[in-house]
Symmetry: C3
């Protein structure tokens, strides 16, 4: 059968890091199979084994990734009976390849939901390997490359019901006594702390929102005074002035930010920490009323 | 109008880091608009918000970057009224795209100076975005890609007077009482400390140069004994022998170096620290006469 | 003479890091000379000056790298009289380019051994440079690109006897009193500790192997209680259960691993540390009998 190149790009996310040659080896394998194909690195610095952080990163990126193959590998269960899968979206305009451990779920949903899905059981499209602990090199990478070459999903193994793919854990905020209990879903390189709360969800609270941070930390034994602020919602870092700001970030979510500094360092918070938003008692008053911690806004060296 | 691909490469420098998916998303956006275009990463590990370090990195790289588009984003003022610009150099053989905050200035000067310049106000060439804090994805990246596709500078917004672009801060050494007061402009991965002083500028001092380090640190309250050495200028690390050497580096500048070790660690100095060079009183004598600090030349793990 | 493109890819490994623009500049130089050529980064995070770690990384990758040019630069002797070389393998299907300091030796051997070899003395194929400390940019990168363009090895300088290339130091395990003295050759991002011992070499010891770690550390003054375990050899991380496991890794070597955790952190060991394997006195008994250290399996933030 004559095959034509079907996809021209593979968008690649993993927790492999770049300190070792893992990513380079996967790309080498892909290049040998599908030399026409461009690999676009999303990131490889997902914390080791952090499926949730990987799924959130993929979800943030997905509306921007090129149509084609998305290869995502955060796979603490490599070699275990967890399934390896490929899942079509958008009538086959895109295919997600990775472990069936929830990593892909949010991104697939954002891309319109799963179409056909296959369990990657056909070893004809895998590499022979001396061990079973590097599925990126031996299974996922080769399969992604073969898909680019025009191999149909159905040839890669047993078709499965996409409804049975492991769902992701979407961190939704919850309402309690008129307040919105959100959490920090992402701390970026700059120390900006994205919340799982959009501006629409706090519209009722007015222009200035009461933000309580650290009242219940993700760490079980954490006990410390919560930081409480009344923050105006702004659209850029320079509108924050000094101290902490509540910014509509580039994904349209609310983020705790410091202008030219790190909110994560300033507030000593991280991924998963609770943030409670509510109506401010002094909504018309000045912002940043209760700055109780020292603000250092210079970047660390 | 029929457009032909005008540029085939985008050289990309930023402070986005690679821990998050920022760089991958910008590349995805570029790929969707200009799939023929190769993106060459210069570095994305400029310290957050450090416009000066970014401008120095770009200046070091500029005589080697491929002709085409240079995309540079170190942009602490993103979303503020700072201008986003594109600036032609070398009769349009190259175009710099980035914020007008001094980041591009030195590199543009080294590339022969600014030709036409435009303020990126035409949103037809931007991405719609839910927030204003990621101009690399929404403005600079798309514009760089459209330039590669053949869109003329004049279509991107209002043409501006290139003489009004924000100048960069070029760290020039100054003479004082027969000595040259330079500074460390760059500490590289290996701990080599590049100075803003070339060998010609110290030629009058003879073969062996007196080097005083740490007499006035960049940190305001720093007080410590300065380190004084008499150093011969050499052309490779193995000519240093033990201790600190003064090497003509790969950019033709003087660098404080340790053979197979880190001068920055050894001397406890960093970017911006003062280094005073002068005539040595014992110019014919042995080098490295006053080693007062312990030398550790093994790489750290 | 009409030249045709001979190689389409350069696989690139170095200790340049990605914090500086070194790698980007080398790629820019390559792109200007051989724009058709794809550069595949293996890794650039080899510890500065660590030729041995670089050679091991290259050896692990070599059976997967694309046929074509392999550019490897871990070069503490840059600018010294050490030779710069290019070495053909597999009847010219591949060429290794780098310093003749042992870095390339293991990979060349694994690729079938050296064919023709040349010392890169012809400066026609180098870049003019203001200093001699960046051979990747000025010598190795340009030569790699010219090879891709079809320049023959013999044009690059004086042909040399491949038998005279500096050999690498292959860390072989040794037998002593019925035990096998191996060492940790690699700690990967996840903390897995690869040994220079394959499963065949310990087959005589039975299913469960006695493993003694830390009895003689690479650090001279290290004194601590050795950790002794009886470990079953398994094929995936999830088969370890809790504590330390002995896994046949993706290269077919034995690795000390923790499921979803770091064996290196857990055992406080690193590259070069001694590991002694021998017959377990309780080979039929349960595994992990002597867990004496606290096990933390959560990934660090």
């Amino acid at each position: 059968m004559l095959m034509t190149n079907k996809y021209s790009s593979i968008s690649f996310l993993s927790d492999y890091g770049t300190r070792d040659e893992f990513v380079g080896v996967v790309k080498s394998v892909i290049y040998e199979i599908a030399p026409h194909c461009r690999v676009i690195d999303l990131t490889h610095e997902i914390e080791p084994f952090d499926v949730r952080a990987g799924s959130l990163s993929l979800a943030r990126a997905v509306s921007y990734v090129a149509s084609g193959v998305v290869l995502a590998v955060v796979d603490p269960g490599v070699g275990s009976p967890r399934r390896a899968v490929a899942v079509e979206v958008a009538d086959g305009k895109g295919v997600f390849v990775g472990p069936d451990n929830g990593l892909l779920a949010m991104a697939i949903a954002l891309a319109g939901g799963a179409g056909r899905a296959v369990c990657l059981t056909n070893t004809d499209y895998h590499l022979d390997a001396p061990g079973e602990t590097f599925a990126g090199r031996d299974i996922f990478g080769p399969v992604a490359a073969h898909l680019c070459n025009g191999v149909d999903l159905s040839e890669l193994g047993e078709m499965i019901d996409p409804a049975l793919l492991l769902p992701g854990v979407v961190p939704l905020p919850r309402e309690e006594k008129g307040a919105l209990h959100g959490e920090v879903t992402w701390v970026d390189r700059f120390g900006n702390c994205q919340l799982n709360v959009g501006p629409d969800e706090v519209a009722d609270f007015g222009d200035v929102v009461r933000v309580e941070i650290g009242s219940l930390m993700s760490g079980a034994s954490a006990t410390r005074e919560p930081v409480v602020r009344a923050l105006k919602i702004v659209r850029s870092y320079d509108q924050i002035g000094s101290g902490i700001g509540l910014v509509i970030d580039s994904y349209g979510m609310l983020s705790l930010c410091v202008d030219r500094g790190s909110a994560a360092t300033e507030l000593q918070i991280g991924q998963g920490d609770l943030v409670v938003l509510s109506r401010s008692s002094d909504s018309a008053a000045q912002t940043n009323i209760s700055i109780t911690t020292a603000v250092k806004i210079s970047p660390t060296r």
